[in-house]
Symmetry: D2
Subunit: 510 residues, 4 copies
């Protein structure tokens, strides 16, 4: 086992602004999935400390909401600059801590940069509507106002970007943020957060009192800390990324206190490949979206629904591509598949494979652990492809790993029905060069997912569109388009500037 | 007691398309609050019948979602025409059944007409966005697609308009509707619904198969019927209007099954009157919004927050106005205040008055039952004004009746804080001709309600703006602006029409 | 020659509200292209009368702009109802006066109905934006306000719908309209206008003073009348439909007085047919868009750009379809091709055919006059198809008649370049089921036209989208989407409600 | 006379990237209005060279339009960074070359930075709409595509910001730019442009071929150079800032070739001061907007329309404020009023004062030249206030200098009529704390200007709103809101993905 942490990683963390000694504790043992080495032992915040944290955010809200949005935009601009500057380092922390390959670690930081720029642009918009009134001497408008403290509870698989998605919008919209990173990825969260802290410091230096204490806070800890956020009536919006199970608990809790929530839960994302598909393009997309991040993206491809006429040809190409995948240390540039996050993930994968076989599936490749000699504490698996006779129970279940089910279809309607016949509704795609097929897939009778792509895989969304899914995925949206509206409260204002008091709907009274 | 129903009311119902014999049963005794006379005895649908109802809606959805939106718009246009034609009759049913004065009954039908026209306009919009992509040969768009069956559960106080608000949008958006009217106001619901049925008949005559069976259904019944809708995973959206207590039950239930909901719950609406107010205008607005619908609007004025310098002058005018209010049979054109919905409402009002007095309040006028001789089974009260020393517990509670609390303030910030210091967040207003006061009230640091008006009362919204409130009011919106989006599902589509497969965020893979 | 007009047509006109005796004069001889029969002789307004007309509109503007937009919406709703009621009659007037087949005459009235409903929906929108400010205690909003009198100058080929497109939006936006119909189609204009007059009468009956004198005026006359509108500084917006030559004169005139204009000028619309096209679908679309309205739509198909591999197959089908086209009296239900508007149009067509032959073209069918025996004063031609070796000068010229040039291509880029290599930029389309081809055609490097369709012809737009074209087509838009903004003036409002006076861009002054 | 240029200014220019030797010529003598010193002698581009410039832009367009918008956004981000870095230097060049005080020079650079950030945000938006279709199996969308080369012709008074406003949007929208700065301010233009060139160099280093030759060009020269741009059919959009006289020439020229244009022409901006105004706030706003940039902003305050009851009080305060204005070298931090741009401006001012006196005006202060001893070649004037008995001819004329006319009114309607009764329609404002007055001023019956502010002066707009004016100001908009749409072409796409060919408006054909 390596030292804790290695000298060079220590330097990386320091450049990221993470001072381990100050954070050291006994609660959280952070291990790299690469080799199981302990990267840090951190203190967790006790739940009892949460009221003070939440109070600080509540106080900060009173000030921050009054800071003009374009000035708030300057803060996210500075954050974006800091992230840009620290991109290589933060990317490396992510790779070490969650096992993503270098390119994906960097991509995640880039996504954080992108959303900062997007939020900067929003900072002079946040548009409501002016509306004509039915009454003389009246006008209507709607304004969007800051909402209140926002809690961002994230999962290990996007330990930096998802926080940035939420925080950049929340901050521009006038809200303080409290960030609860995954227990499995606190360092990545810290690295992203520290860049924000540096931005706040610069901002404060320029604008003085504008950035209040408590504007951005990070809380390391377990589910009790998360629950404190979920349950607090002071937290206006809970944005939580994780499992459907988690969402099924969080949603009702927040609803019962009339809070707002953004839930980004499970996905069980399919790709349709039709006879009109460019199979080589499809293969490249399948590989990236099924094995990227070792199949641990919420948008990872899990189901391949292929027309029976092209199934064999596609599988031939796919198996060949899988056979050449370089699995190993994600910090090595040539690696395409890194380790699973931990042993539990490995076992869950094994379990799903076993169930699938019981349900008639035939394992075409992969599934086995590899590199166990080299990394006895790292859980690397050869990405698996499983041919299924039908969409059985296990196929409808989200298994977080590089396990791809293959199903076949005859008529496009069947394929769409198959795409939709799972509880989750995050992402989906079709590979086809046939306009009618493509448009049918995108139509009201097509994919029921929040994202439906054409000739690209289900994962790897740009930040310009709204991200999120339907059904058990949660139904909410974050990132681009008008997702920012969820971070604000809308107020409808009718202004009478006449000397009369006409009533709406022509009512005469008195 | 009058006969069941009177001959002339029978004729009204018939003109509304309500065939009582077919509906007759023993479950629901519908009584007019005017005199307690039983208007009808109706059969309730057993909960066991709900799965078939819901299945019919689910089947209808499969067809209706494919009908082009502008064609769906034609249906709501026809509905609007039917409502316009039946306006006087439906208005009268409403007045008889829930005790609104004639003008308000008519206004409610007008509101239904208005939303049909608004929905007609939407039927050629339902705009998503086209979005530029960061990748060559790619484009992004978002489309809004039909959502699924919508349940509309309404309260007695807007027995027609709230259904129309929801159904007109739902139908144009491609969704079937199931309408569960209040047990206290099934006839008003039926009258509004029958107009839709006639529109569907005309529509079907013209377009044939376009309007499927099960597109619009009404279910008369109790809370078991409502629960069947709330709990069914086939109901995509539950739109429920009622008490905060109801919403606190419904919200988590719907959340636990990942459904969507629109909650329109309690309001505790305040008016600020500043020294810069036009007091005569304010008095007129107070009277309409505090005693209109006998104080039983969700947007009724309940709290008057007056600057101490003008408090006495305002009260003088107000008491004079209250003294001249004509209370009585709401069907008489001169009447301004009709009866409470039932005895329970009367008792709750008495109870609130008693509590308020215990908490230091001084009853300035009203509160007592009147016309008991004439209408022994009708509960008419003289609208009450209660001077309060502070915003005590009872003031923070919504009492559904003509009870107005008066509070005073010195600094505008206090008044705004007082406005906000209640659990509800529906509507609010300021009377002032002072720009700074007004804009402060509308600003991020101002009213925290979903609606904040200037120089008009908190009630009587136009349908062009979004209607709804924050906090315990539920947080959702219906009616105008972009409220229609809640009745649809959004899909983000990224289309690759190139021969390459570039990844977002510049990631290089393989 | 028939009497003037026939008894039954007299009845039609009367039902349309047109009292010929009151309009009779010697200036305008209105002839039916069906048989050259004179339908009416009408008095033209002398240019000297125009100042009074324009003054009336100017006065009306002062009042109409203050009528709330939803109330203005009620006027267009009533207009829509009147049009719906008179649909058959107005349709017949159009068919008689400009020679459209019955279905197209009715379609034009339907389009007028549609835009009234669309405008009705807008009447509660007309949304500007609320915008966040960079300064504390400030907010920004933009409002759209009525613009002023709008002149609508239309062409013979859409004698009713184009007026409705403009007038419905103009009226809802708060502007009076002055309608100058084509000298060739005053009766169709009058029929459409009279429906508006009836709506105004009903509106006035309900709202009293709301609909001012001068709100809607029609002026029959020649180019001097049109020029009076173009040149008047009181006419805020000139919306003119016609030839590029006309637009080249009108545009600079309006610009020189800083007026606004909407120009809808010539089109030279192409269809690309690729090897991936459904040829049968293409043939149907070609026939409708090339011969519908006898090729006299601004969106008529004039150029067919076919891949050489499918050219012969397409031509075979097309020639067969052309051979079966029923040419004749447009009032007969079975007729698909009616007459040209007049002899000049016929001569221009002959001239174009001759030039095309000189430039290497080969006439594949049609072009000759038919039915001359039956209708010696009616100019019916067999729709022509001309095979061209290249896009020569005459092909780049818009000939208003059923003359279709056929060109071939090898690479899609060539076809797109060919589509774009004409001075006009109105409409275009591609027939292909190949996604890449289709999206390329719609992309930034694709068609440069204002409208680019897929698998439908270039003509027959729905009113939900913006209608209009680039380059010599004028560059403006009318009808759907946000075209209404051109009928309003935008005002950007920055409101300071603080007690400070901070400057934008952080400037310190004094 | 100082040397050409002074050593320190040479250094400033060099830091701005301006290599004078390479630009040196005999055509343009650039003089500082501070002291008349010649700053540079530059070569002008002969008109004969313009076709090559325009061809280069045309070629660049073919490439640049295909670069994804978010990548184009990266270029404006880099430009913003370069401007931020060079802010002090560019600000100084502006101050020296056009005589603005330091704060205003810096503010102009800040405005350029702001628009770069705004454009960056747009680079992931550029939203068109998706629209529902009336036909089954059809959908509609509109896309905004790059337009073509954009010419930006600017005036001396905003020699940097106006170029940035236009270029940042044009570039993000996919268009090359050709910048023709004022002959009086080429160095400021160059300084701003050079920052863009540096950004392009960095961009090219990162993205290779993405930034084509000819993407951004600057042309120094006279009116022949400008005319070459105005007349070229290759220039898709001419954005010209300057006098109404210029616009009256440019508008028709561009219209005659069916080009697009943005005209920002003369303003004659008024402030209403009502009895409900905060007079001290008004005085501060008047001083900044009437004397800032020595009254040479297009948004400078030129007309003060004061209620007669507060006129004297306001004038007392105003004269006192004017008396303390520090006039002098704009590079000195304490200076508030710098020189006029040149002697011609001084003479025009004198001439206006003389005419105003002939028309009954009474000069209350200022108007005379000052500091002539110190700066014999600099034209400094004491800001003038002229009391006018009525809005005479000279008052309706825009005089570019610190000359403020004072008018009085009794009724608000008069004041609004007075505000509107000039040919120009750029900016306007009201000082009042009275809601009714304020809203009336902002209403459809209020100010007819493109900008109408409340409690801030007419000048100093933020970039978030649309900037521009009505009537002789040109009618166009640039900068914020949706002004970007003018830099793009809109295409309406109807896509049929069914196997049928239904026609719009329900037409049956064949």
């Amino acid at each position: 086992m390596t030292e804790l942490p290695s000298a060079d990683f220590s330097a990386v963390l320091q450049r990221c602004g993470i001072e381990l000694p100050a954070l050291r504790g006994t609660d959280l043992s952070v291990r790299s999935p690469i080799d199981g080495a302990e990267l840090a032992r951190l203190a967790a915040l006790p739940a009892a400390a949460m009221p003070a944290v939440i109070d600080a955010a509540t106080r900060a809200f009173k000030q921050w909401r009054l800071v003009p949005a374009p000035v708030r935009g300057e803060l996210v601009r500075l954050w974006g600059e800091e992230l840009r500057r620290a991109k290589a380092d933060i990317g490396q922390v992510i790779s070490r801590e969650v096992g993503k390959i270098v390119q994906e670690g960097l991509g995640e930081v880039q996504e954080a940069v992108d959303i900062c720029e997007f939020a900067l642009g929003l900072s002079r918009q946040l548009h409501g509507k002016t509306i004509v009134s039915e009454r003389p001497g009246h006008r209507i408008m709607e304004q969007y106002h800051p909402l209140g403290p926002v809690a961002v509870i994230t999962a290990f698989n996007f330990p930096g970007a998802v926080f940035a998605w939420n925080a950049a919008l929340a901050l521009v919209c006038g809200n303080p943020v409290i960030f609860k990173p995954s227990e499995k990825a606190p360092l990545s969260g810290l690295a992203t957060f520290k860049a924000l802290e540096r931005a706040i410091a610069q901002f404060t230096a320029r604008f003085g009192e504008h950035a209040p204490e408590g504007l951005a806070q990070i809380v390391l800890g377990g589910s009790d800390v998360a629950e404190a956020l979920v349950d607090s009536p002071q937290i206006a919006l809970v944005s939580a990324t994780g499992s459907t199970r988690m969402g099924r608990a969080v949603g009702p809790k927040v609803a019962s206190r009339f809070g707002k929530r953004i839930l980004e839960l499970g996905g069980n994302n399919a790709m349709l490949v039709t006879p009109a598909a460019d199979l080589d393009l499809a293969v490249r997309a399948i590989v990236f979206s099924a094995v990227g991040t070792a199949g641990q993206r919420c948008t990872s491809l899990r189901r391949l629904i292929v027309h029976r006429d092209v199934k064999q040809a596609l599988l031939d190409k796919l198996l060949k591509a899988y056979a050449s995948l370089r699995i190993g240390d994600p910090l090595q540039p040539a690696t395409l598949v890194g380790p699973l996050i931990d042993e539990a993930a490995f076992k869950a994968l094994q379990d799903s494979i076993a169930q699938a076989e019981q349900q008639g599936g035939k394992l075409l490749c992969g599934g086995q652990r590899v590199l166990a000699d080299q990394f006895p504490q790292g859980f690397y698996v050869a990405p698996a492809i499983m041919d299924m006779p039908a969409q059985t129970a296990i196929v409808k279940h989200e298994t977080f790993g590089p396990l791809l089910y293959v199903l076949s279809y005859e008529e496009l309607e069947q394929a769409i029905a198959c795409n939709n016949d799972v509880p989750q509704g995050l992402s989906s795609c079709i590979f086809s060069n046939d306009l009618r097929e493509v448009e049918s897939f995108l139509s009201a009778a097509g994919s029921d997912c929040g994202m439906a792509n054409v000739n690209i895989g289900p994962s790897g969304a740009e930040i310009g569109g709204a991200f999120g899914g339907e059904k058990e995925t949660g139904g909410d949206r974050e990132s681009g388009s008008d997702a920012w509206k969820q971070y604000m409260r809308r107020t409808t204002n009718t202004i009478n500037y006449s000397r009369e008091l006409p009533l709406a709907q022509g009512i005469q009274f008195g």
